[in-house]
Structure formats: structure tokens, C-alpha cells
């Protein structure tokens, strides 16, 4: 059997078909755990968004939508190149396999690059829950009282000015009042969800590099293409989770603002 010749069949399986089926099933079960892992935080997000729609809309509309848009494009494209890599592995085209894997890696790395830029901008704008947020908001409120009311002449960040202006003439019970605490709650979700997702992307990038190394040393013959397939399953899932994260975090503001104003 040629498969044995390549050393592909592991000792405890009867045949390659069984081995591949086990590998695929294992990855699918793992994906189930991933869905539930993110499911927990999605549930929590849903609860709070239902309770605090204004605050979530406000905070969401102050994130960098264009970065998220580009990142969505990058990840969707990377899913395509990943699938092309499976095809190349099945055909035994090693050069194409490596090319497609590297393209996937580049797209994923691009995603992380934009993400890093976005985090940098957020932190620069002091749009971070906790002490930074409180100080910046206090500064904006101070400037507002000092008479910079009309246009944005102060040094406070635009989100803090927006928040201060919105709340300037409102009591806490006003439905249009935007609670600063709850805005921070949204930011907690923003950082945790994108952070955990980012870690998943990094793991995926590591797996892709490992595949490149395996392919380059000839360890992925066509009968062992399922190695590429299981990594691709993981990569697609991480991609898909982003497709849920993106609207939840970045588009929550758009509709609500239109309705509110």
C-alpha cells in the first residue's frame, strides 16, 4: 500500500479512510467547543445590548468601521485561498499548495496588522474602559463647562466630547442619557471579544506556517491532504466568528443612531 510506504497511516488505524474520518470528526467536535466558547460571550453581549441599547449604539459608532471593513475583506479572501490550498493538496501540486498557504498566511497577518493599528488608535484616543476612560470624560466635561461648548476646540477626544455633550442637559433617568459605565461595558466586550478572536487568528497563523513547513518537506502527499483540511476547518470557523463579531461590535451603532435621531 502506497500510503504505508509514505508512513502516512498511523499504527492504530486500520486504513487511511478511517484515519481521515477520525481526524475530520475530531476537528468538527473541536469546532463545536469553539462555538460554545464564543457562545458564552455572545450570550452575555446579547443580554447587555438588550438592556443598554443606547450605550452600545453610541460606543459602537465610535469604533473604526473602515478598519473592520478591510479586515472582513481580508479574512473572507483568506478563506478562499485556504480552500484552494486543499484543492492543491488533493492534486499533489506542492508548489501551488505552498503558494496558497502563504497567501492565506499573508491575508491573516494583514488582518492582525490592521487590528494592531486599530488597537493603537483606540488606546491613543483613550477609548479604554477604566481609569483612562474616566479621566478623558472628566476632561471633556470640564472643557464643556469652560465654554468650548460649540465646536470641538478642546484637547479632549471626540468620543468623550460627544458623550459629555449628549449628557450635558440630561438627568440619569432621561431615556436618551448615555451611561458612561455602560459605554465602558461595551468596550469590555469589544476588547475581550476581539482579543480572544485575535488569539485564535494567531494560532491559525501558526498552524498555517507548520503546514508550509510540512508541505515543503514533502510530508503532505495527496493521500494525506486531510491535514490541510482540518486546519482549513479551523481557519474557516475563526473567519466565521469574525463575521458575527463584526456586525455586533461595529454595526450596532448605525441602525440605532438612525432611529434615535
Amino acid at each position: 500500500m502506497s500510503a504505508n510506504h509514505h508512513g502516512v497511516l498511523k499504527h492504530h488505524f486500520d486504513n487511511l479512510e478511517q484515519q481521515h474520518a477520525a481526524e475530520r470528526l475530531g476537528m468538527w467536535f473541536f469546532l463545536v467547543t469553539e462555538v460554545l466558547f464564543f457562545g458564552g460571550v455572545f450570550v452575555a453581549y446579547t443580554v447587555y445590548r438588550y438592556w443598554y441599547p443606547n450605550e452600545f449604539a453610541f460606543a459602537s459608532s465610535h469604533l473604526l468601521l473602515w478598519v473592520a471593513g478591510i479586515n472582513t475583506g481580508l479574512l473572507i479572501t483568506s478563506s478562499l485561498t485556504m480552500t484552494l490550498a486543499i484543492r492543491a493538496a488533493q492534486l499533489g501540486d506542492r508548489r501551488a499548495l505552498i503558494r496558497h498557504l502563504l497567501a492565506t498566511f499573508a491575508l491573516g497577518a494583514g488582518f492582525m496588522g490592521f487590528k494592531a493599528f486599530e488597537y493603537y488608535t483606540d488606546i491613543h484616543e483613550r477609548f479604554v474602559p477604566g481609569e483612562m476612560f474616566r479621566q478623558e470624560l472628566a476632561k471633556a466635561e470640564l472643557e464643556l463647562h469652560a465654554g468650548h461648548g460649540g465646536d470641538h476646540h478642546g484637547t479632549a477626544q471626540h468620543w468623550a466630547v460627544d458623550l459629555a455633550k449628549n449628557n450635558a442637559d440630561k438627568s440619569h433617568t432621561d431615556p436618551a442619557y448615555i451611561g458612561p459605565g455602560r459605554v465602558q461595558l461595551f468596550l469590555c466586550f469589544y476588547y475581550t471579544m476581539t482579543g480572544i478572536h485575535g488569539i485564535h487568528i494567531l494560532v491559525g497563523l501558526g498552524c498555517i506556517l507548520w503546514l508550509v513547513q510540512q508541505a515543503a518537506t514533502g510530508k503532505i502527499p495527496p493521500e494525506n491532504y486531510s491535514t490541510v483540511e482540518v486546519v482549513s476547518l479551523y481557519w474557516h470557523l475563526v473567519d466565521m466568528i469574525w463575521l458575527f463579531l463584526m456586525p455586533l461590535l461595529y454595526l450596532a451603532g448605525a441602525g440605532a443612531h438612525a432611529a434615535g435621531h
Binding site: 492504530h12 447587555y48 477604566g130 465602558q184 475581550t192
Partner: protein, 587 residues
């Protein structure tokens, strides 16, 4: 489930004792590296057995401290702060480092491949990784304990755990988070193995019930553990960053943490008990020499527990301010989950009926399980009932109920499994007398420890409190006395099992005359489990007609078998003899 040829049961000839291979899985290599880097599921099972025994001892010592302190109404031996840390250490170590891995990681690893006729689990390296992950996670927990301990209780509720506790919550939570991955890895491995690695003829309807229960357990591990993982991540973020989604000062809801936590942690008690139920089905059939009563009912009730178990979590929160109607719903669903457990108990009792019961140690542990688990299950209904729970919530009644199920149920099932499979795992028989003595002492000690706690709880002593009114002292002293007996009972197996390794009689391939595939190979098994690939032709418990799953006859069962035993006088002493009266109900 049985094979009937013509009108007579077919009894195959008893197979000759397999010649023990020169190299079995134990003596194939002796270096430390051969153990630490093994991918053999049997050796990994042994690694887990050693680690779990260690952590069981640690958790037991912490429990001893708690019980000793409760001897006096104002705390006998330690400060209130140290008391908080002791009961937290007891809870965390026992739950996350012993009960959750226990049977799946030791006996699941060792016996799932053997019982379904496979050479190994589907992912041997992942299996080894799971042990390392477990050790890393427990390392963090040990660190948190050595560095002063955690004082939140094992449930780690915020905002206390996130904001106010000054103890080492972060490494503790991180340790629990990490061990969760080990649990997922084991569960995933077992699920894939059961799906894809069964030998020819091993259909789902012929799977031993231990495999069904391991499958149901793995299902819960896969669906539940990730949810607690993300919950603990959110908790750690909140503790480290000082702000997070459960923080009430910014509009967060600590009760949401309780929902997410119990969404896993209630099913987690089924992760703990369902594998034990699988062991009971294996042992009770073997030592009653009877086919299991209601195979399908027992198999599907495991799955039923796994499914319904996910819909009952909020019964931990009846007094936490959840909505009235959802409390009613969860109360109803909680009662529903008692049904599959009751189905199992009734089927086990029916299996005992008219069986040829012998009382070796595994069977004594199982009979103790039946009594204690039933008490634990029935008192669970008191707590499921919304009205009575208001009175009993967070009292010692809950503590006693939980320990009846987890210790009286699960730990005894674990010991039953250990005594049942010890000859197969080590190739040695242990002392019959001392093992029975241990089972009896544990049973008595357990009762003495926890029955007084039901009384205490009913009269209103809250759990986790270091002090109590003087009139409760008599019950607390009784309980601590029982705990000492129980602790002595636990020590015994440590001695006679260790001694058996050196002085024990050599075990035959099938010392209990059991039907499962794990008994086909010699004891201890060869490296790849079977000399030739098995082909299964029979259901798992054909004790009535006396054939194993390969369709071969069974060796003579152990048991009384002495000269004054009537069964030894008439005709063949094999299972076919005394069993013939049963054959008319088979098939």
C-alpha cells in the same frame, strides 16, 4: 441481545488462558522517559491514576482540616480566614483535579479502546497532551494554594472574586481554566474513538454500557467546558484589569456570571457521576452473573441525563433573584432529570433480582453506591422543589446531598472501577479480605459523616460558616468522627493495592469471568491491546448463556465456590450450570 441457536443457548468452549506475551505494556520499557513521553493510552491512564491519587489525598487533607475546625462552635484549630481557604482548596481540588477527570481520564483512557476492540484512542498524542495540560493547570492551582490560598469558595462568584478578595484568585482561576482544556481533550478523544474505532461487529447496540456513559460524559464535556472557560476568562480579565462585564458599578450583572458558571458547572456534576454509572453497569452484571436488565433504557438514560442536564442550571440560583416563572420552570426541569437516574437505579436493582450474587470488593462498592446514590438522588428532589429549597438553600443539607451523590456515588464507583479493573491494569490480585473491609469501613464512615449534616442543614446551619450555635455541636462532632472513619477507609486501599503490586497473586486474563473485550487479552495487556484484531459477535452482558463478546465460553467465575456451596455440587460449575433456569427469559 442474545444469540439463540435452535432453542438451546449456545455455550462456546472455554478458551485456553492466553499465553502472557514476553512484553506487556508495563514491562516493555522502564525508563522515566518511556512513561513521560508515552502515547500508549494505558500508560497515560496510569499517569492519571498516580496524579489523581495525589490530588485526592490533598483534597482529602483539606477536608480533614475543615472537619477538624468544625469540632468546636467557634472553630477548633484555625482562623476564619484560614477556614475559608481550606474549604475552597477542598472544593477546587476535589472537583477540578479529582472528580471531573477521575473515571474518564483513568479508566476511560485505559479501557475505552480495549472495550471497543481498538489499538489506541483516535489521537494518542492529544491524549498525552491532555495529561500535561492537566499537570500545568494543577500546577497553577497548587501555586495559588501554596502562595496563601483562595478564599472565594469553589464557585468563584464575583464581585467578591473579582474585586474584593485579597487572596490568590487569579492563578487559581487560571488553573481551573487550563484543566478545562484537558477535560475537553479527553472528551473529544473518547467521542471520536467511539465513533470511528470500533472493531468489526461492535455495533452501537453491542457497546458496553460503560462506553455509552463515557460517550454521554464526553458530550457534556465538549458542550459545557468551553462555556465555563470563557466565563473564567471574563472573570480573570475583570480581576486583572479592574473592570469587566460582571462589575455592577458600571452596569454589569454578577448574576449573569452565575448563569454562565452553572451552565457548565451543573452539567459538570453529570460529568462526574455518569461515568460512575457506567462502571456500576459493568460490575453489577458481572457479580450478579446476569444480563443487564433494560440495556437500551440504561444506555439512553445516560444520553438523557446529558441532554436534560443542560436545562436545569438555574436551580442553583433560586434565591439569587431570578424571575419567578423561570424558577418554576427550572424546578420542573430539575425534577425531570431525576427520571433517567431513577431508570438506571431500577434497572440495576432488577438486574440483581435472582442473580447469583457474590460479594467481592467491586460488588460491595457497587452495592454501597446503590444505597448512597439513591439517598443522594432523593434528597436532590427536596432541593429541586422550589418551596423547600428556600428553606434548605445554602445549608448543610445541600452539602450532605452533594456529598451523597459525589462521594457516596462517584468516589465509590471510582473505587469499584479501581478494584474491578486493577487485576487487568497491573496483572495482580489484591487482598480479598482487606478490600472488603475497606468497602465496609468506607460505607459506614460515609454514613456517619453525612447523615448528621442532613440534620444540621434541616435545622438551618449554613454551609461555609466557620461557627455555629453550641446546640449543633453534637452533630458536628458525629460528622467529624465519621470523617475519621472514612479517612481510615480510604487509606486502606493505598496499602493493600500497593502491596499487591509486589506480593499479589498473578491475575489470570479474566479473573472475574466477565464478558467484555478488555478481558480477552492477558493481564496486563500487551502493548497494542490484542494479539489479533477482535471480531465481536455478541452483546456485552451475555452472562445468562455464559459467553463473552467474541462468542467464547467464560471461565469459572470466582466467588464462594467452596465445598459447601450448593452450586458446586450439581453438574457443571461454569456459568452455564446455575444459569440454566434463566435462559427462558433471554432473547
Amino acid at each position: 441481545m442474545s444469540i439463540i441457536v435452535h432453542d438451546e443457548p449456545r455455550v462456546g468452549p472455554v478458551p485456553p488462558e492466553p499465553t502472557p506475551p514476553a512484553k506487556n505494556y508495563l514491562n516493555v520499557a522502564h525508563t522515566a522517559a518511556s512513561w513521560l513521553f508515552t502515547v500508549d493510552h494505558k500508560r497515560i491512564g496510569i499517569l492519571y491514576l498516580v496524579s489523581l491519587t495525589f490530588f485526592f489525598t490533598v483534597g482529602g487533607l483539606a477536608a480533614g482540616l475543615v472537619r477538624l475546625n468544625l469540632l468546636a462552635p467557634d472553630g477548633a484549630i484555625m482562623t476564619e480566614d484560614a477556614y475559608n481557604r481550606s474549604f475552597t482548596a477542598h472544593g477546587v481540588v476535589m472537583l477540578f483535579l479529582f472528580l471531573i477527570p477521575s473515571i474518564p481520564a483513568v479508566f476511560g483512557n485505559f479501557f475505552v479502546p480495549m472495550m471497543i476492540g481498538a489499538k489506541d484512542l483516535a489521537f494518542p498524542k492529544l491524549n498525552l497532551a491532555s495529561w500535561y495540560v492537566y499537570m500545568v493547570g494543577s500546577g497553577f492551582l497548587v501555586w495559588s494554594v501554596l502562595a496563601g490560598g483562595v478564599d472565594t469558595g469553589w464557585t468563584l462568584y464575583p464581585p467578591y472574586s473579582s474585586r474584593y478578595s485579597t487572596s490568590n484568585v487569579t492563578p487559581g482561576v487560571f488553573g481551573v481554566f487550563i484543566t478545562g482544556f484537558s477535560s475537553i481533550m479527553t472528551g473529544l478523544n473518547i467521542m471520536v474513538t467511539v465513533h470511528k474505532m470500533r472493531c468489526p461487529g461492535m455495533t452501537w447496540g453491542r457497546l458496553p454500557l460503560f462506553i455509552w456513559s463515557m460517550y454521554a460524559t464526553s458530550f457534556i464535556q465538549l458542550l459545557g467546558t468551553p462555556v465555563v472557560a470563557i466565563t473564567l476568562v471574563l472573570l480573570m480579565v475583570e480581576r486583572v484589569a479592574g473592570i469587566g462585564i460582571f462589575d455592577p458599578t458600571i452596569g454589569g450583572d454578577p448574576v449573569l456570571y452565575q448563569h454562565l458558571f452553572w451552565f457548565y458547572s451543573h452539567p459538570a456534576v453529570y460529568i462526574m457521576i455518569v461515568p460512575g454509572m457506567g462502571v456500576i453497569s459493568e460490575v453489577i452484571t458481572c457479580f450478579a452473573r446476569k444480563n443487564i436488565f433494560g440495556y437500551k433504557a440504561v444506555a439512553w438514560s445516560s444520553v438523557g441525563i446529558a441532554v436534560v442536564g443542560f436545562m436545569v442550571w438555574a436551580h442553583h440560583m433560586f434565591v439569587a433573584g431570578i424571575a419567578y416563572y423561570s424558577a418554576i420552570l427550572f424546578s420542573f426541569l430539575t425534577m425531570l432529570v431525576a427520571v433517567p437516574s431513577a431508570i438506571k437505579v431500577f434497572n440495576w436493582v432488577a438486574t440483581l433480582y435472582r442473580g447469583s450474587i457474590t460479594f467481592q470488593a467491586p460488588m460491595l462498592f457497587v452495592l454501597a453506591f446503590l444505597v448512597l446514590f439513591t439517598v443522594g438522588g432523593v434528597t436532590g428532589l427536596f432541593l429541586a422543589t422550589l418551596g423547600t429549597d428556600i428553606h434548605l438553600h445554602d445549608t448543610y443539607f445541600v452539602v450532605a446531598h452533594f456529598h451523597f451523590v459525589m462521594v457516596g456515588g462517584m468516589v465509590l464507583a471510582y473505587l469499584a472501577a479501581l478494584h474491578y479493573w486493577w487485576p487487568k491494569m497491573t496483572g495482580r490480585m489484591y487482598s480479598d479480605f482487606w478490600s472488603r473491609a475497606s468497602a465496609t469501613i468506607i460505607f459506614v464512615g460515609f454514613f456517619l459523616t453525612f447523615v448528621p449534616q442532613f440534620v444540621l442543614g434541616y435545622h438551618g446551619m449554613p454551609r461555609r460558616y466557620p461557627n455555629y450555635p453550641p446546640e449543633f455541636q453534637v452533630y458536628n462532632v458525629l460528622s467529624t468522627a465519621g470523617a475519621s472513619v472514612l479517612g481510615f477507609g480510604y487509606l486502606l486501599p493505598g496499602f493493600y493495592l500497593t502491596l499487591s503490586l509486589f506480593f499479589g497473586e498473578k491475575a489470570s486474563a479474566n479473573p472475574w469471568s466477565a464478558t467484555g473485550l478488555e478481558w480477552v487479552s492477558s493481564s496486563p495487556p500487551p502493548v497494542f491491546n490484542f494479539d489479533r484484531n477482535p471480531v465481536v459477535v455478541c452483546g456485552p452482558y451475555e452472562y445468562a448463556i455464559g459467553v463473552d463478546q467474541l462468542g467464547r465460553g467464560l471461565p469459572e467465575p470466582p466467588g464462594p465456590g467452596s465445598a459447601d456451596d450448593p452450586a458446586s455440587h450439581d453438574g457443571p460449575t461454569g456459568p452455564a450450570g446455575p444459569m440454566q433456569k434463566e435462559t427462558h427469559v433471554v432473547g
